[in-house]
Structure formats: C-alpha cells, structure tokens
C-alpha cells in the first residue's frame, strides 16, 4: 500500500503504524456511562467496504492520519490529518 501523507506525500506502507478504527468517539471524560465506554474501547463496526481508520506516519512525520480505505480492495479513498478531523 501507498498512503498519501498530506505532509510527506505518498509513502510506503512500511513507514506507517495502523492505529485502528476511527469510527469511535471517546465519551465525555466525566461520563460514567459504561455502555458508551464499552462501545468506545471494545466495539468495532469492522466494515467490509470503506473504513474510517487512523494511521500514524510513525516512520515519517509522525502525524496521525484519518484515512478512508476499502477493506475489500485496500484502495485509499481519502486522507487527512487526524488533528483536523478531530476538531
């Protein structure tokens, strides 16, 4: 795979670390809603198709990227800095 890092340009898979499903939202830190925390920590949509996920360019600029990628073909549909998506 080749992941187009918004800073570094397209880079080889070997430079990246997968950081998991990006469909989850961390509950309000003050919340004690266990089902919300359980969903955040343990539940996955595990999409067969376009999947929102985080990758860190750990062997490059170290930015976390929010990537949409097909889990059927590995085709990357979009990439953005995770910071910008998280805001």
């Amino acid at each position: 795979m080749l992941i187009p890092c918004p800073y570094c340009g397209p880079r080889d898979l070997s430079e990246f670390t997968y950081q998991g499903d990006a469909n989850r939202t961390r509950p309000n830190p003050m919340s004690n809603d266990q089902s919300a925390w359980n969903a955040y920590v343990y539940e996955r949509v595990n999409t067969a198709g376009d999947h929102r996920e985080f990758w860190q360019h750990s062997g490059g600029c170290r930015a976390h990227l929010a990537v949409v990628r097909s889990t059927l073909t590995h085709e990357i549909k979009s990439v953005a800095f995770a910071r910008e998506v998280a805001k």
């Binding site: 795979m1 080749l2 830190p29 990357i76």
Partner: protein, 982 residues
C-alpha cells in the same frame, strides 16, 4: 542415442570453454550455456528423479517453468536446492548435484514406489495409517511411526546446515513505467515509453534481453530478429531515463503498484565482487506497469509422457537455435497447434532428423504444411501419441489414429525416436496479472485463460494478451517476416487410449499427479479447483503448475461434463516463481535488528560487563569479575550500594520532552495522579493506564519549567508511550497546545545511589549545592560536572539516597568518568540490571514483570495514585466488576523458608500434592536479598495482602523446585523510606 552439441549454430561462445561438475563428474560447456543446455550437450538424459514415484526425468523445458530438471547448486559449504537447470547460467567451476535419488541417479530405491502406483493414488494417506485404536500404537503413534519414513522419502533437495554468509540487499526503485519481460512486445513498450521521456524500468528474468526473438526465425525490418534486438537494446541502454534489469524476475504484484522483483546479481559468477550482493531484492513503485510476460507452452497428457527425451516443442527448438544443442538425433513432433511446426524446422535446420509430425487435427494451415514439408518427416494428421517406451530414455513412440477427441481403435504405428517435441498450445503468463486483477477470462479460440480485468494500473502486451505472433507483438509499424501460422489449438488436452492397459499419463510432472488421480478426485467429490489442487497436490510443486494447470483443469472439466471456465481456475498468488528467503530478508540477513547503544556502552564492555539485550538496547547485567557467579556478582554490587555507593547507567529509560502551555493539562489527563500541581524543578512519580483501566507504564516526570516537562518511561515502553501521547494529541485532544518529542537519545543518565551518593556528587558537581536544602527528595538542580552541564534529580528506585544525573549524551562518558573518579574514595561500584532489580525487589517497586498488561493499579496496591479530583485515561473503566473482583491476583512479597533460590515464573500453591495443582499465583521477580540475607521474590497471588503472614509453597514443576515460602508485604526493606529521605 543421446542429445549432443550441434556442429555449429547457437548463440553460445564456442571459443570459451567452461568446466563444471554434475554429481561429481567433470564436464564442459560454453559461455552462454545454461546448465540444462550444457547437460544436454554432454549427452545427459536423466537429470533428476520425480517426487513420488522416483521416475527418471530429463530436461522438459528451457525456462522458468521447468518441472523436472531440478538440481542442487553447491558453493563451498553452501547448498542451494531445487534450482531448475534451465535457470542456471554456466560458469567455470559450477558444481551441481542431482536430487531425490538414493543411492544414485541411475539406480534409485525409491523407484519401487512406482510399482505400487495405484496404492499411492491421490489422497491415499488420508485413508490409512490411522493405526490401532488400542495398545502401544494407539492415538497418534502409529501415524508418527509411518510419518518418519514418509518424510524421508518425500522432499526434493537437501538444504544445508551452514549459515549462509553471502550478502543480500534491498533496493527501492521508482519509475513511470515498469515493463516486465523483454520479448518483442516488452522491448516495444519500453521503447515507446522511453521516447516520451518517461522513466522506464525494463525487467527481464533471463540473462539476455529479447525473449522469443532469441530463438525464433522471424526477420524484422529485413534483418535477423537478433540484430533488431541488439539495435533496440543499444538504443534503450543509451537513454538516461531507461534502467535495464537483466536476471530480474518480477515475482509479486502488491497494492498500489508495488512490485517485488528479484535480481540475481552474482549467481552466475564463481565469486561475487567485493561488496557485491548475491541477490538484490527490489521493491519497484511504478506509476504504470506493462506486463509483457509472454506465454508458456503446454504439454499434452498421454501415457508415458514423462520419459527423458520428451520435451516441449519450443524448448527443443530453443536448445537447437540458441544453444546449438540437439535434444535428439531423430525427433518426432506431437502437436495440437501450428507453433510446433516452426520448432520442427528449427530442429531440422540444426541438424536433427524429423521422423514424424503427429497432429491431432485432421487439417492444418497452409503455412504449417509448408513448414512440415521443409522439416521433412512424415506428417500424420488426425493422429496422436498413445504410448512411449524406453527405460532411461525415450526409444519409441506409438501412434494411433485420433478423431473427435478420441483415439480410434485400430492399428498402432511405432516410431523409433530419441526425442519427442510436444506442443499442447500456449497459456499466457497471467500470474502477475492475476495477483492484480479479477478472475481470468477463458478464450475458447485460444483454449487459454487470458489476462483478467485489472484492479491496478497495468496494461498487457504481446503473447501475454494472447497475441502470439511476433508481428502482433511489434505492432503495425514494423515489418516482420514470419510464417503465418495459426496458434489456435485443437481443444485436446489428454490422449486416452481405450481398451489396453497403458502407462501413467502425467499432468503434474514434478508432483507425479496423473490423469487418473484427477479422475479419482472427481469420483470422490473433490471437484472444485481448490479441492482438486489440495487433494491431488496438482500444481503445488516448485514449478507451481505453470505447464500443468490448464491440462489438469481440462481433465476435471471433462470428467464433470462442464466447460473449462465453469470449473474455474485457481488464483495465482505471490510469488510468480520461487524467491530466496535471503533476498527477501535482504540486509536484515545477518543484521536482524540494529543495536542500540548507550553513550557509556564501550566502557561497560571494557569493564567486563555481561550485556543483556533489552529490546534493541544493550544494558549491563552484571560486572562480573573472574570466577564470580551471576548471583555473587549482583549480591556484591547491591551490597556495595547499600553500604556505600554505586552507579548504574540509566540512559535507556525513555525520555519525552513535553512542552507547551497545556503540557501540565496533558499530563493530568494521561497520568492517574496530578501533575499540574507539581512545582518547577520538582519531579513526581506517575502511573499511566490504558483506557480499560489496566496499568500501562510508570516513571518520573520532571518539571523543568512552567511549560516544560521531561517525562521518563520504562525502557521497554518508551516507543509505546510516545505513540500513546501522540495519539491523544492528534486524535482526541487536538486543541491542547503541547509538543512531545523523543529525547531519549539526547540525554545520558547515571543513577548514583547509596548512603555516600551525596558525597560523590559534592566531590564533583560545580555550580550548585546538592545538600538536602538545595536538593530535597524529588528536587532538581542544574550544574556542571567536569565542565559538562548536568541536570540532577534526587529520586530513588533502590530505596537509598540516590540521584539521577543527566547530561548531553555526547558528554555521557565524560561525566560518568568524573563520577567514578569522585566515587573512588567511597569505593563506588558500577552495578548492572541484576543488582538494580535486587534493590527494587527489596523495596517492592513494580516494573514490567508486574505491569504485564493484565494488572490493574489496585492489583499492584497503587490505588493511592488514582486521583479522585480529575478524570484520566482509564478512570472510567478502572472500577468495572472484573477489575475489582476478589479473586484477582495482587502484589505480595515472598520469602523462601529454605536456603534455596526462588525463580521467576514459579507458581505459588497453598499445598503440595502428588500432581501440581491449585495455582494461586506466580513469582514475577526474585533475588537473593543481601539486606535480608534470604531468597525473596515479588509475586502476584490471589487475595494479595489478605495472605500476608500465610505459609504457602512454591511449585515450579518445569524446574522441579518445590518448597515452603511465607507470603509477606512486598515492602521488604526500610518500608518507611528513611534511607532515601535521609
């Protein structure tokens, strides 16, 4: 009669003679020979024995698809098994051995297997060897007894036990266009792409470029094809934007046009040049790929089709034309298409006699008839080869009339020949395309699978697309003169004589899979392609079924009464052809992981430290002096610390600069305890959890300024903690203004510990006081040691008065030397990890053995660190029922009640019985405690504190150590901490 060198012809250099040995016999060949051509030139017919029946086998092809002629290449002590003789370039001194024969190639005991052929039919081993259900051979024993012999009989070549000391390397290549294959279409594709200024790679798996043009008779632009190739290559080589890669096999097509390619750099030489790798593994990133991988000729399946002397027609022609070798004196051709007629003529031109051309078709093209006439020999249309004979080499073929896909009853004709050149049509080499495409498409006219629709940006050219002729490969602009033959074969894959008992008809020559094996699989219901493959092992040999896949499929289709495409094809996966493991490991072969060294590494080694691999780091374990055991060494070192002073290298601790106005806020969120209240120039011990409420890492964090913290982590978790922080900053809290930077390598660290630690510092630190007022517990000061700036924090892992002295890594050795000098008067002792561990165990401090990814802070009695004033990572889940359950294992101390060592990983039980049962926990860390004079340990035990004072037993069956212990508090030594606060 046997194969021999033709009197003239071929592109070999007859003026250069090269010596080689085959099974120890000295032979010669010429520059430009492959081992296969040289063996044929030396009259060698039998090159190997087959996998299952150990039948004698000869050279069958001239290329990478070779199923039979596999040998082991010997270089010094190194063995390289299973290499097709067709792929080995001859060099002076080459030594090879034949394989899978005992005691010799000529006489092989294993050939007895062939006598019981029906017993060893596909799947036989699933139906037997289960053994008796009771008695000494019950269970798996009988099978394992039989397996022992089966394993010895199976297998092909023998690999060596010597480490391979050759170099392998990696190379990354980037291009606009990668052209795979350098036959006519590949050369044209490269030429066109290069002309537009694109950066072009042209990869050819053979040593020479040109593909089929090297042995075909076509004339291009009025000159011999070989001349056209030479001219085109010279043009390409002169262009700066073209990279030519001979001996380079593109073997894998991965996502986003990343292709794996193996370049055999020095395999064709007796010795690699200095620094030159044996093989180079390329990852090529191409914007576009042109697959010009050509096609493989297919055999026809008929009884006795495996005898030495039977080979593919184009291969026979290639030996004659390219290598000046006659595969036989008197040759018959057996075909279902026109291409073999070209081969017939080439063989005749090289000096062979064509005995007959046997074609299953009733009629052939005018061009084919013309070729047959020129080649001479009888043309038998509507005939098929139905049997062969000859013990070690083909002597005779039997021919019968053939029509409507069937052998006609009637007279048999025999031809005495020493070579049979067979062509069953062509299969495009769609392997790479299949790795990067959908399902292949069956073409009824060509009786072949054509390339699939791509899923990645590649295009195809030439024979790969089913356009087999040279003119089609070169395009309309170039004049080609070649016979106008028809490549469409008759749909005949197998010849099945009726009535009489005939020999085995092989589909997969290397794995000895016969046509009747395929029909047996059909009978037993193994009818899907994958079941067929797995049940019979069809296509699973080293040639990966390059020539056997389609005939195998066709036979199954016939048995099922279905058209071939409905039976399907198997998907080709990487690699296209076998790739050495060394090349794939590349520079990591012999350099598996880099070594991470602290600034004081050389000093430790010079002082006789026994080094310990801690992840990628090396750390001193003990500084053993002559004759000391490990235990004696660490006890001596630990005692010295408690008695006076010791020094330990702590440079490997992870260090992260946490900077910015929100740095304290970040720390409050990731640590369970508060950091925003920490004053400048003070440090605090912190604990991090994972979101699940499980302990993750611990360490001290130093506040160097209002917005400036230095976080330390354990050595093992440095990288993980860094990613943890980066993840939260990028993905969860992007509004925090904090920068984190790894500064592990910026700082050298030395911990000075012991009652005299302060005196040591007083003796060498300048620019700051280090007394209790200036430097209280967890205080930080800055100064200089021997002119180098240092930062000193008073903190203790050992329970002693202790300081961590940090300086720039490049000053590390300098400062360490100064500390050692200053400590000389106090008999300062350097100590290693074992003593460090001993000191911390005595204090009951936890490390990675206790924070093992399963323990909660409560398990470790670190509840006091869980702030109630703020949320933190893990706070929401740390109270779940499973994490507060009464039966969890919790931290305790263990004291051996006998004077015998305890060991890590030993279990704790309440009572000892006949069998080890009833574990209530395990020992995480152990030592002989010089402070207590006993063997002690930390352990995680069910119930934890509630068991203090209880008697229990250590149960360590894997080391056969059992004995009484007492469960105590994990704070063994100086629980009030009076020493470190002193």
């Amino acid at each position: 009669m046997s194969p021999r060198r033709a009197h003239n012809g071929g592109r070999i250099d007859r003026s250069t003679t090269l010596r080689f040995t085959f099974d120890g016999t000295a032979m010669t060949g010429h520059a430009g020979d492959t081992l296969a051509s040289a063996l044929l030139a030396n009259g060698i017919s039998v090159v190997g024995r087959s996998f299952k029946y150990h039948r004698p086998r000869g050279v069958f092809s001239a290329g990478i698809e070779e199923p039979n002629a596999l040998v082991t290449v010997i270089k010094g002590k190194l063995r390289e098994p299973n290499i097709p003789a067709t792929q080995i370039e001859l060099y002076d001194g080459l030594a090879v051995e034949s394989q899978n024969r005992f005691p010799s190639l000529a006489f092989d005991f294993g050939a007895a297997n062939g006598l019981a052929g029906n017993l060893f039919a596909a799947g036989f081993y699933y139906k037997t060897f289960m053994g008796p259900v009771a008695g000494p051979l019950k269970g798996t024993r009988f099978w394992m007894f039989c397996e022992h012999f089966i394993r010895r009989a199976a297998g092909l070549g023998r690999a060596g036990h010597e480490p391979d000391t050759d170099r392998y390397e990696k190379m990354y290549g980037f291009c606009d266009v990668l052209v795979v294959g350098s036959g006519p279409s590949g050369l044209m594709a490269a030429k066109h792409a290069a002309a537009t200024g694109k950066k072009v790679f042209l990869a050819e798996q053979e040593p020479e470029f040109g593909g089929s043009l090297r042995w075909k008779s076509a004339a291009i632009d009025g000159r011999p094809a070989a001349d056209w190739v030479a001219a085109t290559l010279a043009d390409l080589a002169a262009l700066p934007n073209v990279t030519l890669l001979p001996r380079t096999t593109v073997w894998g097509y991965y996502d986003d046009n990343a292709l794996g390619a193996l370049e055999r750099v020095a395999d064709h030489k007796a010795h690699a040049a200095l620094g030159e790798p044996r093989q180079r593994h390329w990852t090529i990133r191409a914007k576009d790929v042109v697959l010009a991988t050509g096609a493989f000729e297919r055999p026809i399946v008929f009884p006795g089709n495996d005898r030495p002397g039977i080979m593919l027609a184009a291969a026979a022609a290639r030996y004659a034309t390219e290598f000046g070798v006659l595969p036989g004196e008197r040759i018959a051709i057996f075909a279902n298409n026109d291409s073999a007629y070209e081969a017939a003529l080439a063989l005749k031109d090289a000096g062979a006699e064509i005995a007959a051309i046997i074609d299953v078709r009733a009629g052939v093209s005018i061009a084919a008839r013309e070729l047959a006439r020129e080649a001479g020999g009888e043309l038998l249309l509507g005939y098929a080869v139905t049997n062969t004979s000859g013990a070690r080499r083909l002597r005779e073929i039997e021919v019968q009339a053939f029509a409507d896909g069937k052998v006609k009853d009637g007279a048999t004709r025999a031809f005495a020949v020493d070579c049979l050149a067979v062509s069953g049509g062509w299969s495009p080499a769609i392997h790479l395309a299949s790795q990067a495409g959908h399902a292949p498409q069956w073409d009824e006219a060509l009786q072949a699978f054509l390339p699939p629709a791509p899923t990645q940006p590649w295009t195809g050219a030439g024979a790969f697309t089913g356009a087999y002729s040279t003119s089609a490969a070169l395009g309309d602009d170039i004049a080609v003169s070649e016979p106008e033959i028809e490549y469409e074969p008759a749909p005949v894959f197998e010849i099945r004589p009726t009535g009489k008992k005939s020999g085995k008809a092989f589909v997969d020559l290397q794995h000895d899979v016969t046509a009747s094996d395929i029909r047996l699989a059909h009978r037993e219901g193994f009818q899907s392609v994958e079941h067929l493959k797995r049940y019979t092992t069809l296509g699973m040999a080293t040639d990966q079924g390059k020539s056997s896949n389609v005939p195998g499929l066709a036979i199954m289709a016939a048995a099922r009464g279905l058209p071939i495409p409905e039976v399907g094809t198997t998907r080709f996966r990487p690699p296209f052809s076998a790739v050495s493991l060394g090349a794939l490991a590349a520079d990591r072969h012999g350099h598996f992981k880099p070594e991470r060294l602290t600034p004081m590494h050389d000093w430790h080694v010079a002082r006789g430290a026994r080094m310990y691999a801690a992840g990628l780091w090396y750390r001193p374990m003990i500084y053993g002096t002559g004759g000391e055991t490990v235990e004696q060494a660490y006890v001596r070192e630990a005692k010295a610390v408690r008695a006076s002073v010791g020094i330990v290298d702590v440079s490997t601790l992870g260090k992260i600069a946490v900077q910015g106005p929100d740095a304290a806020e970040l720390l409050d969120r990731v640590y369970t305890n508060l950091f925003s209240t920490l004053p400048v120039d003070k440090a605090r011990y912190g604990l991090m959890l994972r979101e699940e409420g499980i302990a993750f890492d611990d360490g001290t964090t130093w506040r160097l300024g209002e917005h400036d913290f230095l976080m330390t982590t354990t050595t093992a978790n440095a990288g993980k903690v860094m990613q943890h922080l980066e993840h939260y900053l990028d993905c969860v809290w992007p509004d925090l203004r904090v920068h984190v930077t790894s500064v592990t390598d910026e700082w050298a660290g030395a911990a000075v510990a012991g009652p005299n630690a302060r005196h040591v510092l007083e003796a060498c630190v300048e620019g700051t006081a280090v007394d209790n007022d200036a430097l209280p517990f967890m205080g930080i000061v800055r100064g200089e040691i021997a002119g180098a700036p240092v930062m000193i924090c008073r903190l203790s892992f050992s329970g002693e008065l202790a300081y961590e002295v940090y300086c720039g890594a490049g000053h590390g050795q300098h400062v360490w030397d100064a500390l050692m000098n200053a400590g000389q008067q106090f008999d300062i002792v350097p100590y290693g990890l074992e003593a460090l561990g001993t000191l911390r165990i005595e204090k009951g401090h936890v490390t990675g053995a206790e924070i093992d990814g399963r323990t909660s802070p409560r398990d470790l009695y670190l509840d006091w660190m869980l702030s109630k004033k703020k949320p933190y990572v893990g706070s929401a889940m740390v109270d779940r029922e499973g994490l507060v359950a009464a039966d969890r294992v919790r931290l305790v101390g263990i004291v051996a009640l006998e004077d015998r060592p305890l060991q890590g990983g030993a279990h704790i039980v309440e009572r000892l019985g006949e069998e080890p049962r009833g574990s209530i926990g395990h020992i995480t860390a152990f030592c002989f405690s010089p402070a207590l004079g006993k063997y002690i340990a930390l352990a995680l035990v069910k119930g934890g504190k509630a068991r203090h004072g209880q008697r229990a037993f250590v149960s360590d069956p894997v080391r056969n150590r059992y004995g009484p212990v007492e469960i105590v508090s994990h704070h063994f030594f100086d629980p009030e901490g009076s020493r470190m606060h002193g």
